[in-house]
């Protein structure tokens, strides 16, 4: 079909209508959440594409977990037995410590104590947009997940939920530039905000005075402020401390303890109860 001279678009009206529709959609979706139901429907319709796109990665993972040599299995088994033994000893120590803390709190008349429930989840999709460090997990509203819930991996703080669907949720990783975590340095109990700086970059602590006592190797944990994470979850280890005299501040970088590039099971803090 040849295009007539001077008429490169067959239906100019349709083109303009769709162009205006796109701009309107963009304006509404960028500023409000009215279009979330439409997004959910399209997301549901596009599920087969997402499924097929993740097949190679899932197949590789499945093959990696099924095809292992007997020697490797023996080695893993030995290692797991050692780990179980070590962890049992740690649990015994922690249980004892917990009892002591409870007794001390009792003696001091301290009654408020936070307990949290966690929901186990799995990463089902990684956001292909590299400007957004986000993953989709396979638990959502129906499993009791809400927006702004802390997410942990087996090593430490991983991120927070930013959008929740019926059976899935979007998690913003802690090293995303939009993520900020209220933290404290466990050695000195000083409060800071740890901000993400993008992929492969360490976190930075904001507004650290020159007089602040922070050393390389200090453990940074959540402060419990902000309501997303309870206090005491490990965020990372201080990697470097540099004085920026011109700004009267210290530049402190923190290496996250969570393995944000590893596909692992995640725990979502579904609720923090006070008793």
């Amino acid at each position: 079909m040849a295009l007539r001279s001077g008429q490169t678009i067959q239906n100019t009206h349709l083109f303009l209508a769709l162009l205006i529709s796109s701009v309107l959609l963009l304006a509404v979706s960028a500023n409000t959440r009215y279009l979330t139901p439409i997004e959910t429907v399209i997301r549901w319709l596009a599920q087969p594409i997402v499924y097929v796109a993740h097949l190679p990665a899932n197949a590789k993972e499945a093959a990696g977990s099924y095809v292992v040599s007997m020697d490797e299995l023996h080695n893993r088994n030995d290692q797991l037995l050692k780990d179980v033994s070590r962890l049992n000893a740690t649990i015994a120590e922690l249980t004892q410590a917990q009892r002591t803390i409870a007794e001390l709190r009792d003696a001091l008349g301290y009654v408020q104590e936070n307990t949290r429930t966690q929901v186990l989840s799995e990463i089902v999709q990684v956001n292909p947009n590299r400007q957004r460090l986000e993953v989709i997990i396979n638990v959502g509203e129906q499993q009791g997940i809400e927006v702004d819930r802390g997410v942990l991996d087996p090593w430490g703080v991983y991120g927070r939920t930013v959008e929740v669907f019926p059976n899935s949720a979007r998690v913003l990783l802690l090293n995303d530039e939009r993520h900020a975590t209220p933290v404290l340095v466990s050695r000195t109990r000083q409060y800071f905000i740890a901000s993400g700086n993008g992929p492969d970059e360490p976190l930075t602590l904001d507004n650290v005075n020159l007089s602040s006592d922070i050393r390389v190797g200090d453990t940074v944990v959540t402060s419990g402020l902000g309501g997303v994470f309870p206090e005491g979850l490990v965020v990372g280890i201080v990697e470097s401390v540099t004085d920026v005299v011109s700004e009267s501040l210290k530049r402190v970088t923190v290496s996250p303890i969570a393995k944000v590039k590893a596909k692992s099971y995640l725990h979502v803090i579904s609720s923090v109860e006070q008793r």
């Binding site: 979706s29 796109a53 292909p128």
Partner: protein
């Protein structure tokens, strides 16, 4: 190639482009290699605009753009807008390409891909306040261009309506 076959190939390549677009790279792939991922949608749709332009209807561009918005987790409308612009600009460029298909189509695909990548990056910069690396804007058009070179011989095949479309 019958009309049904052409439609089947078009839909199949579009779905394949969507799959390749969102297929995750292994976590340990270095950043520079991630940037070398071509823009499969631009590649696919520009090819069809030049190969058999009637396949790339405006409504289809709008719908595919919406799917891409959701898959990419971007505000609804941005990819529809860019895909409509791509179809529009692609059709306008047919006359420009005619005299020297290999060179001029390569230049066009590079410019269009750069336009799409840069526009998206600017939008993200404005709405998300994130840092945009130059390599993430420049490398995808280069990667797309490399893949485009492989498609040029198909443009000249007997099934192509490219020559007819610009007469």
């Amino acid at each position: 190639m019958t009309d049904t076959q052409a439609w089947s190939y078009f839909l199949l390549t579009t779905v394949l482009a969507l799959i390749l677009t969102i297929a995750p790279m292994p976590f340990d792939v270095p950043e520079w290699l991630r940037n070398l991922k071509p823009d499969w949608i631009v590649l696919c749709w520009f090819f069809w605009v030049t190969f058999q332009h009637e396949r790339c209807s405006l409504i289809m561009a709008f719908v595919v753009g919406l799917i891409l918005d959701v898959l990419y987790d971007e505000p609804l409308g941005i990819n529809s807008l860019l895909l409509l612009a791509l179809v529009f600009a692609g059709r306008l460029s047919l006359r420009f390409i005619q005299s020297s298909v290999g060179l001029r189509s390569s230049i066009t695909v590079f410019i269009l891909c750069f336009f799409v990548t840069a526009t998206k990056s600017l939008f993200l910069l404005a709405t998300l306040d994130v840092d945009i690396q130059v390599s993430s804007v420049v490398m995808p058009p280069i990667a797309t261009l490399i893949w485009w070179v492989l498609l040029i011989p198909i443009l000249m095949s007997e099934h192509s309506q490219f020559r007819d479309s610009v007469q």
